[in-house]
Symmetry: C2
Amino acid sequence: MYRSHTNGELRLKNVNTEVTLCGWVQKSRDLGAMTFVDLRDRYGITQLVFGENQSEMAKDLGREDVIQIKGTVIERESKNKKIPTGEIEITVTELTVLNKSKTPPFTIEDETDGGEELRMQYRYLDLRRKPLQENLKLRHKLSIEIRKYLDSIDFFEIETPYLIKSTPEGARDFVVPSRMNPNQFYALPQSPQTFKQLLMVGGFDKYYQIVRCFRDEDLRADRQPEFTQIDCEMAFVDQEDILNTFEGMMDYLFKKVKGITLDKFPRMDYATAMEQYGSDKPDIRFGMTFNYINDVAQNKGFQIFDDAEAVIAIVAEDCSTYTRKELDKLVDFVKRPQVGAKGLIYVKCNEDGTFKSSADKFYNQEDLKAWADKCNAKAGDLILVLSGDKATIQNQMNVLRLHLGNELGLRNPNKYAPLWVYDFPLLEWDEDSKRYHAMHHPFTSPKKEDMHLLDSAPGEVRANAYDLVMNGTETGGGSIRIHDKATQALMLKHLGFSEEEANAQFGFLMDAFEYGAPPHGGIALGFDRLCALFGGQETIRDFVAFPKNNSGRDVMIDSPSPISKEQLDELYLDTKPA
Amino acid sequence: MYRSHTNGELRLKNVNTEVTLCGWVQKSRDLGAMTFVDLRDRYGITQLVFGENQSEMAKDLGREDVIQIKGTVIERESKNKKIPTGEIEITVTELTVLNKSKTPPFTIEDETDGGEELRMQYRYLDLRRKPLQENLKLRHKLSIEIRKYLDSIDFFEIETPYLIKSTPEGARDFVVPSRMNPNQFYALPQSPQTFKQLLMVGGFDKYYQIVRCFRDEDLRADRQPEFTQIDCEMAFVDQEDILNTFEGMMDYLFKKVKGITLDKFPRMDYATAMEQYGSDKPDIRFGMTFNYINDVAQNKGFQIFDDAEAVIAIVAEDCSTYTRKELDKLVDFVKRPQVGAKGLIYVKCNEDGTFKSSADKFYNQEDLKAWADKCNAKAGDLILVLSGDKATIQNQMNVLRLHLGNELGLRNPNKYAPLWVYDFPLLEWDEDSKRYHAMHHPFTSPKKEDMHLLDSAPGEVRANAYDLVMNGTETGGGSIRIHDKATQALMLKHLGFSEEEANAQFGFLMDAFEYGAPPHGGIALGFDRLCALFGGQETIRDFVAFPKNNSGRDVMIDSPSPISKEQLDELYLDTKPA
């Protein structure tokens, strides 16, 4: 036993106890006759006192040295109310330096002076910082509670394989050459989708797994090539059952981990979400929904509006006092290439009942009053208007709305607004490949009442698919699956698979559907993202113990890296110059 | 809601309840006026009765059809005591066939008529069988309880990356080509060894993870290229702390999952295990330990013994009545190439106090009495003797001992005999590569008191390494690690790494050791094997949902498989003919 107690547990009641402690030297203050050392571990900080006769032994201690001390707990004279051990300190009688530390390349403090890349390289030091310790503790806690909840309602966690088969649908696979099967490759799973469906065919009824998934995508900020998913599937259920089950899980987690009681989650179909928010993952922590003002804004001689498919207005409450400069900044914002709007029209609803617009040339006070009425804008509000192609404008207005939400402090990270979005389109047109792709995945079932549109208007077919949205972020998504061979074959045909390709890729699944596959469906939640959400943060990187950088590199272990000629030969592979 | 109840929950108290049930048709008996159907799901079997007016609708039901029924619970006339629902049945009023099933290629019964390969191909059907359902349920239960235990003593589960770096030490790695980093590769982890050590450097103190590991080995029976490990590490601990912690975990699991209270685990050092059992994983459910009888067996003119380094005897209790034929079979057994003995000498200790030996020519009754005394053999026992090179004979005798243990019914699968084996050698000589390999792994610390032998007699250096053995199987293994750069560098040097190679491969770890690495150690337990052990079975394959066959293939999804030219090009790879 290296220690009798941790550095987080000693209190006044332990005074006079002989203790042995271990940990890292957080800081050392040499006051001549006495030296004070803050000793840190995962559990907290305890103050050590090296008295007159002991001060000598403490004098060589440096930051991050690992030490073991023996001593006696005494009451502090000047208590520190900021830490739980602040009422006591330890008079040290024996010191053993277990391991010296070089001076760390950045400070091990809540706010560190280390840059991103340096902290990645010395991740093991960054992990000592309290914010990261807390993040990983939260992650552990969440995983424990998720399992507790699902176990309590008869889910089994079942492990599915990581060495599976490459499929052309979806994102790019990471592949793994097989030595025993020359010139053949496994793929790492983008999700255990087909396996969880086979578990339903296998009678397992309620499955989950907290599981790693892999996508070889060009990494955007805050995407990792490997990520963790809470993967779930149920048999003999309809959409309602799944929504209720996982709403129950989220309720449980918020209560257990955050002490927050959530209201019943609102639900919104995809069409409404797009119409009102221009997004399939609306942040409903604030309003500012879309108003379509074509009828009051068109045919007044303003060409830009007159030519537009849609004229969409949002209302920024109490913003009529925006200065010219502030308004110009908004115009600049929407004109940035990332947003791509041509311009922005505003209407100030002045406190005195008058209106001031950037299109005063075309609209009189009565016209603008009609706009305000249409938008339910009141005196003191600011109306912002974009026009053009409907889908494009919805998208641009969504970006502007979220921007204003941030500007106006309407997106409180400590407020949680969950939302179910359902009835997603089954297919979406891909301009690059000139064909329809599955919006969710090829195993999602079309809504029965839309099946007749599959040939005539494939883009209009809705799917039994749903997303769990939280504060404007997609937290999870799922669907009721196809469970019969005929529908699955039809779906693959519509996705451009020949019968031969369909059988080569998904024959095993369609075969399985012929042996008594039950109706089933499921959901997958992004676990890294969920952790960040519960931690009240935007980026997932600091909720992953050992993340990779934006080039998919682990800069700490320097991976990926070349392998030996012998390894390549054994795998019957040659590399080609890039 | 597809169902109001499962097929395992209805009892007499539910009589007269209207229910909706779903499941698979286990069997159907058409008695003319009535048809009885056994409806099966994960939870059990419920008997359905289609009465006179309903019989018609049941007539087309086939095995494994998925159906939904509505009906009323009634008391059975002839009760079935074998199943929990055996006191009731359901009179059916409505039947919906949710999905027809083709006739399955093998019977979905506890004892199936399907061969291994066929069952692998239709794994989703095999998984419907009760033994496999029970196995995966046990696996789930074990994983829940393991986490509960470790969580209760402040371990955090922390996920480590799957895309890591290839290392030459240990088994062969599976590698993953990187598209974004041309001609560079990730490797899949054989274990999270270095990462869990870095977590200790990072201050996480108590880590665990139930984690997939990968080894590209030529597969022996019952080995999988991917397997699951309970991976643990602790800081500020010595060997004793780790043994106690994980003995506590095993105690907890046996109590929780099997209702068995285990005694304190015995401990045995490696040298003793080899001396007494000829194995580093002795099955101590039975005795039959080794007796070294050189002093009484040599110098009596029996050349074979006289020339031998070791003459080892074991005693098979109450086996003096073995027939000539039975003894010949034992001789044949040890002469098989897999065992490789030249011959086997026996001594029958007859009930009348006389001895009968296969070496009577050289040994008189008094000589044999001395053997018997030396071995503590009593009248009625059978002594079996092998001789030759000590290490070889220990190994052969171990095989014979286990064989006899099986023959004599001494290896009861419902008896559990755990054992800690400790003080393993640090290094073992490899004849092929003519160098020392790390017996455990390169991060295991040598025993301080043996350090001086590292140059002079490296094979004699003992390590702070230990195995948890259960019923003759290695269930887990671990060690106290090296935590300073100098020792780690020395160790790598002894393993044949140049300084350059050592830095390229493990520089990050040795760097980390310079920034205040705490003393630490850990253990990893094979989870698949643990499940089989708790299930009282020898093979792990049926405790893995989707196992691969002995060529590393998943015959169900037909993987590995070729990938497209485009995929290879994107990865800057060419395949070479095998």
